[in-house]
C-alpha cells in the first residue's frame, strides 16, 4: 500500500508521543511532591536569582546576531558548492540545460564569483554604515 514507506515514521512519532506523555503522567502520579520557597524556584540547586531575567541588553548585540546570520547562510551555501565544484572539476561533469547547452566548472566558478561580489557589496555597505563599530 502507498502508506507503507511512511509506517516507520508513523511508528517513531507514536513512540515519541507515548514516551513524552508517559513520563509526564508517571512523574505526576508517583513522584513525591514537596513544596517550599527553595523547592519552587526555577533552579532548585543553583544560585538564588540576583536580578530579574527580563533585562534589557544593548541593541548592538542584534547587529552582531544579524551579521552572524548573514555569514552563516553564506557558509551553508558555499559548502555544497565546493563539493559540486570539486566533482565538476575532477570528473568534467556538466549540468545540462534544457536547450541542449551544457555548463561546466567555468559556469560554477563564475556563478560563485557573482555571489561573492554581491556579498562584498553587502559587507562594504555595512562597513560604511558603521555596523562593525562597537560604540
Amino acid at each position: 500500500m502507498w502508506i507503507e514507506p511512511y509506517a516507520a515514521i508513523g511508528a517513531t512519532v507514536l513512540i515519541a508521543i507515548t514516551v513524552a506523555i508517559g513520563m509526564l503522567v508517571i512523574a505526576h502520579t508517583i513522584g513525591p511532591k514537596r513544596h517550599g520557597p527553595v523547592k519552587d524556584t526555577p533552579y532548585e540547586s543553583g544560585m538564588p536569582p540576583l536580578i530579574d531575567t527580563h533585562r534589557r541588553f544593548h541593541i548592538r548585540f542584534y547587529i552582531v546576531a544579524m551579521l552572524f546570520m548573514l555569514f552563516d547562510v553564506e557558509l551553508i551555501f558555499i559548502w555544497p558548492w565546493a563539493v559540486s565544484f570539486h566533482e565538476a572539476a575532477t570528473t568534467q561533469a556538466v549540468i545540462p540545460l534544457n536547450h541542449g547547452t551544457d555548463v561546466g566548472k567555468g559556469f560554477l566558478l563564475i556563478a560563485m564569483g557573482f555571489f561573492f561580489l554581491l556579498l562584498l557589496f553587502g559587507l562594504l555597505y555595512e562597513w560604511k554604515k558603521g555596523a562593525f563599530e562597537w560604540d
Binding site: W2, I95, N98, G100, T101, V103, Y125
Partner: protein, 538 residues
C-alpha cells in the same frame, strides 16, 4: 551560449542589480552625496528600461523565448513585464523624489530597484525555487521601504505587520512548492522537448492529491501577495501606515508578482482546474471583489479607501484568472490572461497616479490622507486634482479612461464563455457580481472626486509636495486617456505577450489528455514519470 550573449540577454536585470548596489553605496558615502542617490536610481531605472527596449534579442520577444540559465526562461511575458515594471519603477522613483528622510535615501532607492529586479525575475522564472526567491526579492525590500518611508511610529507598525504576515505567507508558499516538487520530482516548471513544450505538472490521470495540496497552499501563499480575501486584512493598515509613494508601489509590484506566479501555476496544469479548485477560486474572487468594494464605502481616509480599491481590483483580476488563456477570445475581447496582463499594468499606473496626487497635496507638512485633508483642493491645485480625477475615474472604470477597457476585457472574457460550457453559468454569475460591485465602487471613487472639487477648502492644505510627484502624476494620468483613444497597440502587445501562456497551456492540456505518459528520451531533465506518482497517490 557564451557569456557576452548571456549578459546581453539579461542586461536589464544586471543593470538593475549593479545600479541598486551603486545607489546603496552612494547613499552611505556621506555628506551631500545622499541627495545624489535619487537621480542615480532614476537613471538606473531608465537605463534598464532602454536596454529592455533596444537590447531585445530576437528570441526574447517571441513566444518560445529562450532558456538562458537553468530556471531562467526569457519569453514574451518577460518583455512585457520588463517594459511595464521598469517604466513603473521610474515613475515610482519620481513620486518619492523628496520622500525618504535624509541619510536613508540611498537605502530606500536601492530597495525600489531590488524589488523591481525581483519582479523581472519572477516573470522569467522557470523553476519553483527561482520563482520563490524572486517573489521574496520582491517582498523583502518592500518591508524595508515601508519602515524607511516615514519616521513616525505608524510606519514602523505597518512595516512590522507586513513583515510578519509576509514571512508567514512565504512559509506557506514554500511549503506548497515543496508539495509540487514531491508530486512531480522536479522543480522545473516548463520542460523543453524537441517538438513541443511540456510542463512538469502533467499526470496520467488527473491531479494527484499531493499536487492539489501543493496548488492550494501555493495559492494561499500568493493570495497574501495579491491581497485576495481571506488574506486581505493587513492591506488597509499597511497602506495607511506607509508613506503615499510606497503605498502606490505596494499596490502594484507584489500584486503583479503574485499574479505572474499564479499564471505559471495554472498554465502548468493546462488550466484544467478540478471542480473543487474552480469553486475555491470562484468564492475567493467573489468574496474579494465584494469585500473590497463594500468596505471601501465605509472608510474615512482616502488611503484606506484606495487600499480597499486595491483589494477589489485583485477580485477583478481573479475573475480573469478563472477565465484563463483558453477561453474568452470572442472578437474584440482578449483571452483571460491577456486581460490580466493588460489590466494589471494599467492598474499599477492609475493607482500610483492617485498616490502621487496625495503626495503632491501636503497637509501640515505631511501627505494628504483623509477626505478632510483633500477637501476643496481643486482651488489650490487644479492641475494635481485634474490628474487625481483622471486616475480615480480610471480606477472606477469610467469610459474615457483605460480603466474602462481593463474592466471591459476582464468582464467581457467572463461573459464570453460558450453556453454549452459547464463553467458558463458560474462565470456569468461571477461577472454579474463584479459588475454590481463596480457600481458600488463608483460611490466611493466619486467621493474622492467630490471632496476635491466640491468640498470646502481648508487652510492647512498646500500643493507643495515638490515637482517629482506632479511629473509622475502627469506620467500616470496621460497614458490612461491615450490608451483609451489608441488601445490597439497596447492590447495587441499584451495579447502577443500572453501567447506564451496560451501555447504552454495548450501543450500541457494535450499531455494531460493522453492516456499514459512516456518520457521523451531526448529530454535531459531528471524527473519522475507520472506512473511513479500514481502509486504514491491513493
Amino acid at each position: 551560449m557564451n557569456l557576452s550573449e548571456l549578459a546581453f540577454a539579461l542586461s536589464p536585470e544586471l543593470v538593475l542589480l549593479a545600479g541598486a548596489c551603486i545607489v546603496l553605496m552612494v547613499g552611505v558615502s556621506g555628506g551631500a552625496n545622499d541627495r545624489l542617490a535619487v537621480p542615480t536610481a532614476f537613471l538606473v531605472a531608465l537605463g534598464a528600461l532602454a536596454l529592455a527596449v533596444f537590447a531585445d534579442p530576437d528570441q526574447i520577444g517571441t513566444v518560445s523565448g529562450r532558456e538562458i540559465l537553468p530556471g531562467l526562461w526569457l519569453n514574451s511575458v518577460t518583455l512585457l513585464v520588463r517594459l511595464t515594471a521598469l517604466s513603473f519603477g521610474a515613475v515610482a522613483i519620481l513620486v518619492s523624489w523628496n520622500q525618504p528622510v535624509a541619510r536613508e535615501r540611498g537605502e530606500y532607492m536601492a530597495m525600489i530597484l531590488f524589488s523591481l529586479l525581483g519582479l523581472l525575475l519572477t516573470a522569467s522564472a522557470n523553476d519553483w525555487v527561482v520563482l520563490f526567491f524572486a517573489i521574496e526579492l520582491v517582498s523583502i525590500p518592500t518591508y524595508i521601504m515601508i519602515a524607511l518611508s516615514r519616521t513616525d511610529a505608524r510606519a514602523s507598525e505597518s512595516a512590522v505587520k507586513y513583515f510578519f504576515l509576509g514571512a508567514l505567507s512565504a512559509a506557506i508558499l514554500a511549503y506548497g512548492l515543496s508539495f509540487l516538487y514531491g508530486a512531480t520530482g522536479t522543480t522545473t516548471i516548463t520542460l523543453f522537448l524537441v517538438s513541443e513544450t511540456e510542463t512538469s505538472m502533467r499526470f496520467a490521470s488527473g491531479l494527484p492529491t499531493t499536487a492539489m495540496i501543493g496548488i492550494v497552499l501555493v495559492f494561499a501563499g500568493l493570495a497574501f501577495k495579491i491581497a485576495a480575501v481571506p488574506f486581505h486584512a493587513y492591506v488597509a493598515d499597511v497602506y495607511e501606515g506607509a508613506a503615499s509613494p510606497v503605498t502606490g508601489f505596494l499596490g502594484f509590484v507584489p500584486k503583479f508578482a503574485g499574479f505572474l506566479a499564479l499564471i505559471k501555476v495554472f498554465m502548468s496544469i493546462g488550466w484544467e482546474l478540478p471542480t473543487s479548485l474552480f469553486w475555491m477560486l470562484w468564492i475567493v474572487a467573489a468574496a474579494t471583489v465584494t469585500t473590497g468594494n463594500v468596505l471601501g464605502l465605509l472608510q474615512r481616509s482616502v488611503k484606506r479607501t484606495l487600499a480597499y480599491s486595491s483589494i477589489a481590483h485583485t477580485g477583478y483580476l481573479l475573475v480573469a484568472l478563472l477565465v484563463g488563456p483558453l477561453a474568452g477570445n470572442a472578437g474584440f475581447m482578449p483571452r483571460g490572461t491577456d486581460a490580466i496582463l493588460f489590466y494589471i499594468a494599467i492598474y499599477g499606473f492609475m493607482n500610483l497616479g492617485a498616490f502621487a496626487a496625495l503626495t503632491a497635496l501636503q497637509t501640515d507638512g505631511r501627505d494628504a490622507e483623509t477626505f478632510e485633508d483633500i477637501s476643496g483642493a481643486a482651488r489650490r491645485a487644479p492641475g494635481v486634482c485634474l490628474g487625481l480625477a483622471v486616475c480615480v475615474f480610471s480606477l472606477m472604470g469610467f469610459p474615457p479612461t483605460a480603466g474602462f477597457l481593463g474592466k471591459l476585457f476582464v468582464l467581457g472574457g467572463a461573459f464570453s464563455l460558450r453556453p454549452g460550457d459547464a463553467m458558463h453559468g458560474p462565470m456569468v454569475t461571477l461577472a454579474i457580481i463584479a459588475v454590481i460591485n463596480s457600481a458600488i465602487a463608483a460611490a466611493y471613487y466619486l467621493r474622492i472626486v467630490a471632496a476635491v472639487y466640491f468640498g470646502t477648502p481648508t487652510t492647512k492644505l498646500s500643493p507643495d509636495g515638490g515637482n517629482g510627484p506632479k511629473w509622475a502624476l502627469a506620467g500616470c494620468a496621460l497614458p490612461m486617456l491615450l490608451i483609451f483613444v489608441f488601445p490597439a497597440e497596447i492590447t495587441k502587445f499584451s495579447k502577443r505577450s500572453a501567447a506564451v501562456v496560451h501555447s504552454i497551456t495548450l501543450d500541457a492540456k494535450k499531455t494531460l489528455s493522453r492516456s499514459s505518459y512516456k518520457p521523451n528520451s531526448s529530454d535531459k531533465s531528471v524527473r519522475l514519470t507520472a506512473d511513479h506518482v500514481d502509486h504514491i497517490d491513493p
